[in-house]
Symmetry: C2
Subunit: 310 residues, 2 copies
Amino acid sequence: MNLADVRAAARGLDGIAHRPPVMTSRTLGAGVFLKCESFQRTGAFKFRGAYNFLSSLGEEERARGVCAISSGNHAQAVALSARELGIRAAILMPEDAPPAKLAAVDGYGAEIETYDRYSMPQVQAGREFAERRQMTFVPAYDDPRIAAGAGTAALELLEDAGELDLLLAPVGGGGLMAGCATVIKALHPSARVIGVEASGVVKRSLEAGERIQIPVPRHIADGQMLTQPGEWTFEVMRELVDDVVLCTDDEILAAMAFLFDRLKLVTEPSGAIATAALLAGHVRPEGARVGVLVSGGNVGLERFLDLMRR
Amino acid sequence: MNLADVRAAARGLDGIAHRPPVMTSRTLGAGVFLKCESFQRTGAFKFRGAYNFLSSLGEEERARGVCAISSGNHAQAVALSARELGIRAAILMPEDAPPAKLAAVDGYGAEIETYDRYSMPQVQAGREFAERRQMTFVPAYDDPRIAAGAGTAALELLEDAGELDLLLAPVGGGGLMAGCATVIKALHPSARVIGVEASGVVKRSLEAGERIQIPVPRHIADGQMLTQPGEWTFEVMRELVDDVVLCTDDEILAAMAFLFDRLKLVTEPSGAIATAALLAGHVRPEGARVGVLVSGGNVGLERFLDLMRR
């Protein structure tokens, strides 16, 4: 997967995906540029990768329909992409997923099946689901087409903000990071790329030189609940990511409040975590031109109120 | 004040004001375009008019410094405009103004004085303040330069959304409405312009054919606390505004929640009221191309949490 793949994905997404604005804040610094994927269709960057993946399928794969497993943003992204492309979709979602998310996926016309997420690991549940349904499985992150789609966000950020010295992006499975790092390093090789996470699984994996496995983490960033980085994305991150920093729940909440009050942005915890790394001082740009991926805004009003009352 | 004045204001604001994005929502309808002035500098459209007014001042007026009376957004707009232009500013604010707004004005370097808005009419308080300070008074709405500045929001909306059949904008003193209606009627004479308010003072004034006076209203839209429309703006509105509709506090709150959840937009009550008119069915566009002014986002996190817990 290289810059040409991301450019091809961008051409496919033109007129389909939104092109969310790049925003600035004098409080964060004159050289800080926030790419607001909270305004992407389905409310998160995930639509870019899912649509790019589905567009790449051949006739036979489309005819079988697509399936995915997700409790959140990937589910909505696959459901909407499938509807846009006229492909049948079935999504396996945890039976205790928030009703609003189930309703959103249902609203995009996808079939929903639920499972007990405490009785079976997600990877296993997804594999069994795809086999049983005989549908084309859409991975959430560990795939070059997913990453190339996600990388189009970085491409737009560079077009709108100009050259960057540093990119900060949330990191979990690694799809967004693999795509964005590929773009940044291809266009501005001297720029640094730093991932931000809540659990430390990516940082520890990079330090160990191999993918470690952790128990399901207990933090508020539900978009970064991974227990292990992706296999393919990990190899890309080993090559292209300069550093990974961690943020606490309190730092994420402070960033969500800051983005609400000062930038009038609604963000979910993983959407605010890259900004949190700046605000908490884990990354000190010191005059550098910094791109920040605000990856999503699907927090939901009720959960936002609960989080802010902590 | 005419289209040429608005175009001149737009040239003066170029590179100074932000150009907030126009957003769409399939839930609201394919032809609905939200001009998101919540992302304007100072968090509301008011910056446009204040900066245009201050730019128009001569040497002597600038040297005296400027003063204003405002519950919030106009205060911030004057404070920041003055700082940008190197002019001293003093602002008279109600002592019960939202703390976020008081803090912001202070942050822009303006001097703040407070008063009890329930004990003295705003017009009287402002007149006394300006006389005592011997500074150039910056009106909040009842002035062609203020309205011409505000009208640049409609100019940008038309440039980005294309032709409109209908414009919905909050109406209070009438500065935003006078500027926007002037632009819409000049460029698309057949388009309808509808104001949205919480108190009914503008609607009743237009029906009466003269400016009525009401007690200080007690609704949640603190950006629309006017007891009487402006004198000059009222004449413009009589000529150009087709209708005014009212929204209740509950309808405004529902719109704020909708904009938060679905569009990931932070709005203050008056910023959400034009959207509320659509959502509550007070205006039924039925296929028309509708521009909606989302006029500001300075609600402040604490007040937002309080409002949403009602």
